[in-house]
Amino acid sequence: MTGAIDTILQGTLLGGLYALFAAGLSLIFGVMRLVNIAHGDLIVLAAYTAFLAVQLTGIDPLSSLIIVVPVMFVIGYALQRGLLNATLGRGILPPLLVTFGLSIIIQNALLQGFSADSRKLLLGPFETASIPLGPDLAIGWFPLLIFATAVVVIAALQALLHRTRIGRAFRAVSDDPETARLYGVDHRHLFAMAMGVALAVVSFAGVFLAIRTNFDPAIGPARLLFAFEAVIIGGLGSLWGTLAGGVILGIAQTVGAKIDPAWQLLAGHIAFLLVLIFRPRGLFPRAVD
């Protein structure tokens, strides 16, 4: 019994990390219908940015977010304004091809700059500290921090979308970019802001990933897959749905790993396929499309 609770709990907390992988992807798709194939590599880029910040300044990995978040925001803004905006409004293929190319470019640039060696950010004793909940049950501080961050980040994105002027404009542009322009919305600037915000969120994903596991330039595409599955499970365009999707993916993987370590990823993909079969629009689809 405790074993089952433990599995669910660890899976839920892992889901927080997947939700952080996915939130930026979900926001970008929601605002501009852009599927960013380079999303996973941007997570890895954030991890290396943190790695560099730690190397250069001696700052601890969590505090490096003070540097990584603004850097990634600026990269996101520039990337959208300088490159990705030009791919929008011409059908689904151009953004897919360009972000696919971007993915390869980021991987190779990281390989050039940092070699293929795997790295890890060290946080010290906090990484393994845990709160005992019972005889065989404990909850790690660091996984808990990741999950809490995911909840706060998603609540913040939700507030941004629904309680601010720019968030209202994000939703309006998502509904009808042409009409939004009629009332003064510069969609190119707005899309760039959305990508900036998405990559600010990616910074958290990248730093937590880098503390939690080893990383190297090639691990981006697998993170993209997890993020993509979490978004689809939750329902396109729904941020709380993305959190739920991350949690379901996390639980499925943890349960799978419990049965046989080789089954971890497979169990996640099976959960994804089951949701696609029974709820093709995901669990919490947006009311309007």
């Binding site: 509904d175 322009r181 009332y183 003064g184």
Partner: protein
Amino acid sequence: MTALLETQALEARYGDFQALFGIDLALQDGETVAIIGANGAGKSTLLRTICGLNAAAPEAVRHRGQAIGGAAPEAIVARGIALVPEGRRLFLSLTVEENLLMGAYAKRPGPWTLQRVYRLFPVLEERRRVSGIQLSGGQQQMVAIGRALMANPEILLCDELSLGLAPIIIRDVYAALPAIKAEGTAVVVVEQDINQALAVAGRVYCLMAGRVTLQGRPEELDRERIRAAYFGV
């Protein structure tokens, strides 16, 4: 006297297809002008070109004498030219109030505020938290008008306000025009409904196949000439 808004030899194209041929049109301060014409005559294209959604030569559109043809829509609305688009085009995932607030995105100062729009259309205040899809056609049109008013335009362009509405609802929607004109706003109404257009306008232009075929004051134009200009018979 420079006109408030003027087009000179305005042309518009969609690819190889030319939709407007040498349109000359003038609008004076505070005036209400109607543009009538059959489906496909180019009325919407004319309004969209003025608003910057379709390309135009700079000199082809002038606002208070300044060439604005082909400028970005964001720049045009900031100058005080706002469109109520054909088909209303509400932001469907936004509430009524959020739709209205989007109209004020450019932050142009002027008399129109949320309160003022709600006084003009009290039913919208009751339904302010409701999404656009849950409104009736008439209420949606009121939101579309209110949203354009929130931009505090000195020129309000209305594309087929009566489209798809029952006559009694059309009357309610058009009942808002006097209050809008009382602020000194010049209005251009595009209509297929000739009677509605003649009732509100000081001057009328008739468009057929991308050309102005007739213009004048409603009282100068007899029905036969309008019919000829409208249907080309």
